[in-house]
Structure formats: C-alpha cells, structure tokens
C-alpha cells in the first residue's frame, strides 16, 4: 500500500512535534525514520496509524484520504517498542486477537484462525509456545509475538516504533536480519523508527532523516551517505569526522 502525507503538522501545546512534513512512500518499500530523540519520529508514526490526529495536513492510503479515520478503521500493523502484549491472554490469544474482533461477516472460522496463528508462530520460529503467557517469554520472544500479532490481520502496512530498541545487540542483529528477509519475501510496505544508523542503512530501501519535527533528508542509504550538504545531516551521521 502506498502512503502519502501532505504538509502534516501536529503540535503538543505550542510546540510542533511534527512540522509540515510531506512524504510519499511507495507500495512495498521499507523506509526507516532516523533522527535524534524528540525529533518527532514516533509522533509521525502514530499520526499515520491514527493514534494521534493531525492539526493540519492530510494522509492518504493508496490514494484514499484517511486523515479523519480512527486507528481501528486504518488497521495499520503497529509494533510498539514496549511490545504492548495483552498480559492476561495466552500467546495464542494474543496473536488471534485481531482475527477474533473482526466484523462477523469477515471473521474466519475457529479452525482457520488456529491454522493462521500456528503458521505465524512457525514464521517467527516460536512454535510450541502458544499456551504460554507473555510474562513467561524473553524480550526478544515477546517482540516477535507482537510482530506476529500485527501480521495476523494481514495489514497493508507495517509500522514499527524502535522494534528492537529494548533488546541486546546480538538479538537486535538477528531480528534485524530476520526482518530484512521477511520484507524481501513479502514486500509488505513497512516504516520503522530507529535511533540506530547502522540498522536504518542496512535494512531500509530509503531513509528519512528528521530533526525538530521536520524532514532534513530523504534518500536511499547510498544517496544519503554519499554527498549531502545539509549540515545537520552531516553532523548527525558523523560524515565529517
């Protein structure tokens, strides 16, 4: 699904967290949002998901204006840094949640739901854990469950907010590679927020660099690293050192 954002602005009080951002993301792209803390990356992602509403500007999914639609109508696959798993539900119930709450007419049968959940568990290499509760899993496993839960409803776009932020370096690298392969295979339009340049440049087709709520630079990893005159970007990426 393509996503187009036009002059999007969102302020908290007088302070603009996202300031006049315009972006076009093509179907199947994997785009990384990179920037210092407080630069508005999470806010932009939440605006796209419908978890915040813009003061100004518009958002289009595949050309359809979704600016005024709620999160449960936009159904973006959102993966939170905190995992946000439902602690009172088993892993199975967590992953099946989106399928269970689907409108009756579109809801899958119990058997189909079971099939889908088990196959997702296989995809994330956590088969056999369906009856556990989230507290019984490690951080990396929880993150993968959150990922499977988002994928279960077959979203048209995946939004990942520092998906690997809370994990140790080794698990981070493993999951990053896994995510890269997953994207190669499915070509699901994906946006992910990160602090980590290496992560952004390795996995993403294009990287968007933010500062103070505004886009500083957009381009492929190669374009960005070779030659930019923007002093913030040069400084942020450490190109002059």
């Amino acid at each position: 699904m393509s996503i187009e954002i036009t002059s999007l602005t969102k302020s908290f009080g007088a302070f603009p967290a996202v300031n006049d951002v315009s972006l076009k993301i093509e179907t199947g792209e994997m785009v990384a949002f990179l920037g210092p803390s407080g630069s508005g990356k999470t806010t932009l992602l939440r605006l796209i998901a419908g978890l915040e509403f813009a003061d100004k500007g518009e958002i289009f999914f595949n050309g359809e204006n979704v600016t005024m639609k709620n999160a449960n109508e936009r159904k973006a696959g959102f993966v939170f840094q905190s995992y946000a798993l439902f602690n009172h539900m088993t892993i199975f119930e967590n992953i099946a949640f989106g399928l269970h709450v689907a409108p009756r007419a579109k809801r899958l049968t119990k058997e189909k739901i079971r099939e889908r959940v088990l196959s997702l568990l296989e995809t994330i290499q956590l088969s056999g854990l369906e009856n556990r509760f989230p507290v019984q899993l490690s951080g990396g496993q929880r993150q993968r469950i959150a990922f499977a839960r988002a994928l279960a409803v077959e979203p048209k776009v995946l939004l990942l907010d520092e998906p690997f932020g809370a994990l140790d370096a080794k698990v981070r690298r493993e999951l990053r590679t896994w995510l890269g392969e997953f994207h190669e295979r499915t070509r699901l339009t994906s946006l992910f927020v990160t602090h980590d340049q290496e992560e952004a440049f390795e996995v993403a087709d294009r990287v968007v660099i933010f500062d103070k709520g505004s886009v500083q630079k957009i381009g492929t990893p190669l374009e960005i690293r070779s030659g930019t005159s923007n002093t913030f970007v040069r400084d942020f990426l450490g190109l002059d050192i």
Binding site: N72, S82, A84, F86, M89, V135
Partner: protein, 275 residues
C-alpha cells in the same frame, strides 16, 4: 523433605509476626464469640437464629447489601474510570467527597440521609407525592448501603486503572477492535480482581453496617430491620447469648462471603500466577 529456600529474607520472622498479630487481633475475639454462643446451648441458639423476625433481617442485611454492592460495582467502576482518565475542574474535590463515607461517623451519614429523604424534608417532599418512599422503606436502606460502600470500589479499582498503560488499548485499536471490544477484552479483564475486591469489601461493609441505616430505615419489623439491630436489641435486653448467636451467624455468613471473594480474585488473577 528438604527445607524450602525462600528468596525473601526474614520469611520465618514475618510469618511468625503475622500469625501472632492476626491471632491476637482477629482469632481471639472470634473464639470468645463462639464460646459465648456455645454457652447458651443448641436449642437457644436455634430458636434465636430462626426467629421469623430475625430471619426477615437476613434478607435485608445480606440481600439488600448484595444489591447495593452490585450497584456500587457498576457506578464505583465508572467513577474510578473517570477519576483516573479525565481531568476536569473540581475533580479533586469530588474525589475527596467520594472518600468522605470512610471518615464520616456513620450516625452522621444516617442523619444526613434521613434529613434528605424524609417525607417532609428536602428531596422527600417532592418524592412523596410521586409515591416514591425512600426513608422508612427498604429503598432507604439500599441508599444508605450504597452510600457507605461506594468508596471501597472506587479506591480498589482506581489505582489499577491508573496503572494500565495506554499502549495495549492502542494495540487493540490498530488490530481493528472497536471501543467496546477493547474495553471488553483488553481493559476489563486485568481490572476484574480489583473490582471483585472492591465489591466484596463494599458488600462486607454494608452487611455489618449499623449506624447509617437505623435512622433512615425506621426499623420496621419484617421490612427494614437489619441483623445488627437485632443484636443490639438482644444486648439491651441482657440476652448476651442470643446476641452472640446472631453474631456467630453473621460471622459464618461473612466468612463464606470472604471465601467466595477470594476465589473470585484468584480466578481473576490466574494469568498473573504464572509469572
């Protein structure tokens, strides 16, 4: 069997203290109550607790209390939700007002409610012509019980709502859940144990309540008399074993309530146990 190693230091000492303390504070007086009851003999006991006027009071003390506790469960939950989630002018004041029944001498509450609902007073004078009788009727007992039990639910539930993180609700929304489904499947289940605790506490309080009810109820036999009032009357007539017999009956009933409450909490908490 090998001695179990405890992670927490001072386990033995703390358990020792707790047992001693609970025994002195709770078990000892209860034993005395049982002793006193037994001294009256079985026949006197049975006669006392099955006296038709007394039996009618059980319906009020346990039945109307139950309805009050359920009503408090619903509205206490709503109030807790609003206090936890919304800020509005006067919220603090309203919250403090909610706690008032905790601190207020129950007789004061009784007088206040009676002053409000008596046929010739404030609200009562408008309700009377409509045929709505509150003071000196079961409805009055219900209102008094709701009044004194309300803060228990709010206080039990509010901190748990405040602790809920917004991200699970947001996750549910992104997965396509509407607001109702989010409340039903995501927000409510983790709150159930606290809600049960609040309802049970408010129930227990209403069952044992005396001061705030006796004014507004009018103490009409077979209608609005409560069991604690029966106990009080027995004491006034120097029928100590009779009073103890009723006390013992209430004790048993309360025990059952507490046990059911505990089961409900365990059930509501089952997913936490696994941590």
């Amino acid at each position: 069997m090998a001695k179990k190693k405890h992670v927490l230091p001072g386990f033995r000492t703390s358990v020792g203290w707790t047992v001693t303390w609970v025994s002195l504070l709770v078990l000892l007086p209860l034993t005395a109550l049982v002793g006193k009851t037994a001294s009256g003999g079985w026949e006197h006991f049975w006669e006392t607790v099955t006296d038709p006027e007394v039996v009618a009071t059980y319906r009020v003390s346990f039945g109307i209390s139950f309805i009050a506790a359920l009503i408090n469960g619903v509205f206490g939950f709503l109030a807790a939700w609003i206090f936890a989630r919304y800020d509005f002018p006067g919220r603090r004041l309203l919250e403090a007002a909610t706690d008032l029944p905790f601190a207020l001498p129950t007789a004061v509450a009784g007088i206040a409610l009676t002053a409000l609902y008596s046929p010739s007073e404030w609200l009562g004078q408008y309700l009377e012509p409509l045929g709505v009788k509150i003071a000196f009727a079961p409805a009055g007992v219900l209102i008094a019980m709701i009044f004194i039990g309300f803060p228990f639910v709010v206080r039990a539930v509010q901190p748990v709502i405040e602790d809920l993180s917004a991200d699970v609700e947001e996750a549910a929304a992104c997965l396509g859940a509407n607001r109702w489904q989010t409340i039903r499947y995501v927000i409510l289940p983790p709150l159930l144990p606290a809600l049960f605790t609040g309802i049970i506490m408010s129930y227990g309080r209403a069952v044992g309540e005396y001061g705030s009810i006796v004014f507004i109820s009018g103490n009409i036999p077979f209608q609005t008399e409560i069991t604690p009032l029966m106990i009080f009357q027995k004491l006034e007539q120097y029928d100590y074993t009779g009073a103890a017999a009723l006390g013992f009956t209430m004790l048993l009933a309360s025990l059952v309530i507490v046990l059911i409450g505990n089961r409900l909490q365990t059930w509501g908490n089952r997913f936490r146990k696994l941590a």
